[in-house]
Assembly symmetry: C2
Homo-oligomer: 220 residues x 2
């Protein structure tokens, strides 16, 4: 069984809009609907869990009605941090199989990326999509300065991050740490080796008006 938890627990203040960013319209439709549609397009049988701030449930319902959005999904309340939102999502899933955890504001994930993650995770227990940075990269050094590092050894991490459901549920029993910026870091903290697959470069996290302009330009 394949599931996806779409995490949209944020209040999205960086967009400078009062609407949470996952609800902003991308080519006439809330970002979040584009995101859900990608997973539905990948597998029409996938079980979809949407994690939203509790106070946005009725807003989301109205939006679904307004946009005639019919893709079946269950809605779960988010927590104070991404970690807790994911945990709530995981708690709502039972049984074995694979679960993808995906940022609600990444509507530009390609079907190929989703497929690569699920395929590799089926073989190895987990897989996350990564890309190489285009830029040179520097790392902070102990003396509070910085040093150039070989960018061939650096990956920028995207979502969906796909895991054996049982495995990731177990990992999320660990206490919260602010260093958990994604699900891979939670799993790794529990001794799991993470498998990398190729992401797609346009699979950005939409967090600023600039990102929105980009997404509008390339999302048909």
């Amino acid at each position: 069984m394949e599931s996806v938890i779409i995490v949209a627990g944020g209040s999205g203040t960086r967009m400078g809009a009062s609407t949470p960013k996952q609800f902003l319209l991308l080519n006439g439709k809330p970002i979040l609907m584009h995101t859900i549609e990608q997973f539905y397009a990948y597998n029409q049988q996938i079980s979809i869990v949407l994690v939203l701030p509790k106070n946005q449930f009725s807003n989301w319902e109205s939006l679904c009605e307004e946009h005639c959005f019919k893709i079946k999904h269950t809605t779960v309340a988010g927590g104070d941090a991404r970690f807790f939102s994911v945990k709530n999502g995981l708690d709502s899933i039972s049984g074995s199989g694979l679960v993808a955890i995906h940022d609600g504001v990444r509507p530009l994930v390609s079907l190929e990326t989703i497929s690569r993650c699920f395929t590799a995770a089926a073989q190895k227990g987990n897989a996350i999509p990564v890309i190489k940075p285009v830029e040179s990269v520097r790392l902070q050094t102990d003396n509070n300065q910085s040093q150039s590092i070989n960018r061939d050894h650096v990956w920028l991490v995207q979502t969906p991050q796909v895991f054996s459901t049982e495995l990731i549920k177990r990992c999320y029993q660990t206490p919260f740490s602010p260093l958990f910026t994604d699900d891979a870091s939670v799993a790794e903290h529990n001794g799991i080796t993470i498998n990398l697959v190729e992401g797609n470069r346009e699979n950005i996290k939409i967090t600023t008006p600039m990102d929105m302009a980009f997404a509008s330009a390339i999302k048909v």
Copy 2:
């Protein structure tokens, strides 16, 4: 005295176009002209050196005529790698002062970023613009696996990279290494401590059609 070397030595094959990417039209005008205009807007007295592949000199001249492009600059032939292109540019500059080295395909650099780099370099001998990654970051480990690192300790490097002219000319006497992905890494190889200032997020390097769509969407 302030100078800028605008490096546009590449053949730009990644755009899937036969035109080198620095000549592709961004809102009706070659990318490179937008880039040069930003430095001219920052300081109308700045000395501008443009590094181009030798076989593109006449093409560039025609483009300047066609687009009535009048900003004064000198043109220098590029080398086989970015390192040699920059070196050729530096060889064409004499005297003291500060020199910015900037990628020709970064037309979205803000005047504030340029100004921050020159101001800090005037005080400290060099400065380069950086941004924090939005994504989680992983580093390759010795056993050919990867490990999550604290992204607060990671910077993605942009241009312009600004240096005391005498200093960077001396650094570029070092033999070429493929690990030199930017000017800071060349300076650092010569024992120089690099100073970081804030870049601007939209200051991307245009290398793919997707980047071009982004730039078109936000460049007025």
